[in-house]
Symmetry: C2
DNA sequence: TCGTGATTTGACCAACTGGTCAAAGTGAGG
DNA sequence: CCTCACTTTGACCAGTTGGTCAAATCACGA
């Protein structure tokens, strides 16, 4: 049923999504115009709309593609691994994503900040299920005495917030630090923070 | 020079700012229209513009008023107080603000996410100075052995991010938790998180 | 080389939106 | 009750923007 994509289609769709990511992450959905995206993609506006039905379609396609990538680090947290290493590894991966993919982080943040109208369902289904599953794992680690007692949901929220902060609030972080690159120190700090949080008290 | 405000001016300006906060925090600057704000304020559009020069003027006025309120909790951190109590008190106040003033938090978050074009200068002056000052205090507490060694800047970032997360990403938090009010558990969790982070190791 | 479907575009449109303005309405002090 | 400054508004405008369309151009297999 699905016709295979021609090389031109592939190239142009990719260019449009890339341009869309650039523009949407800077100005938000309502703040971005088709002309901006078209120019950034090196295409004419009608040509954009030949590949995507509407502005919203570009935005939605982008979000959906993004969601997988975004959940992947949590998915990779291994129930069989060493608990503290697994959680710290998750923090590490998440912070690295903030550094490597700040545009994606900001696009996502903007969507949620404005009420997540395009992905509400996804959040309350897939995301919720995934977090619930990992929360169980964390509770088991706790029961086994491998980590200190902790609310797994809020632990995850705090990992999300602290790591994404360096992408989403980048301007503020740099204003406060005066231009020093924050990521190295952030990694050390967050490692310490969650290590102290999770290390079981000596008996 | 400044004429005193009449009662009508006071009432209407207040109504406009309140409506602006409501609308801007939901849709962002570009996503909000004067008509929306006017309707929400119970005024006609030209009447809005009798009180504020432009849409941007409403937004800017709102941001400036907000900034004081926003920094106040950090300002109140007392160098003379008990270190751990002071920092945990700050966390507490900040989370309470997320609960009581989510619109303000989201408005602020949106501004920064989009590059903080209206308050960039403020961030790199006032905010930066305030944080630097408090960082010194925290370092002194550390030197006195009252708290565990910690990077004061990233400590503050992590307090901002974890507390504001409950306002800014409210939709996501509630989607994951399935409607349970997050704030009580969040308070317990964050108290634990920062207490474990800051409690000095036994010698 | 040709024909056909895929691709591209200039011209255009309707809706929306920020902002203006002249005129009408209103209320508090004299 | 009158006046004058303050307040309010309907009508309007110009720029922007998402989206359409018919016609032109291109690319590729036969």
């Amino acid at each position: 049923m699905n016709k295979p994509e021609t090389r031109i289609q592939q190239r142009n769709r990719t260019a449009i999504l890339s341009a869309g990511l650039d523009v949407f992450s800077q100005f938000g959905l309502r703040g971005s115009t088709l002309d901006q995206i078209a120019e950034s993609a090196g295409l004419s506006k009608p040509n954009l709309l030949y590949y995507f039905r509407s502005k919203d379609a570009i935005y939605t396609a982008l979000l959906e593609k993004l969601l997988e990538t975004w959940l992947d680090p949590l998915l990779k947290m291994d129930p069989q691994g060493d608990p503290i290493q697994e959680i710290l590894g998750y923090v590490h991966r998440k912070l690295t994503m903030s550094k490597e993919y700040p545009r994606e982080s900001r696009l996502f943040a903007n969507e949620i900040l404005l009420g997540a109208p395009h992905i509400a369902e996804h959040l309350s289904k897939d995301l919720r299920a995934l977090v619930a599953e990992k929360a169980v794992v964390i509770k088991e680690w706790e029961a086994a005495g491998k980590i200190a007692p902790v609310d797994p949901y809020h632990l995850i929220f705090s990992i999300w917030s602290t790591t994404q902060h360096y992408a989403d609030f980048d301007v503020q972080v740099r204003a406060v630090l005066g231009g020093i690159d924050p990521f190295d120190d952030a990694m050390k700090y967050l490692d310490t923070l969650f290590r102290r949080m999770l290390t079981p008290p000596k008996v």
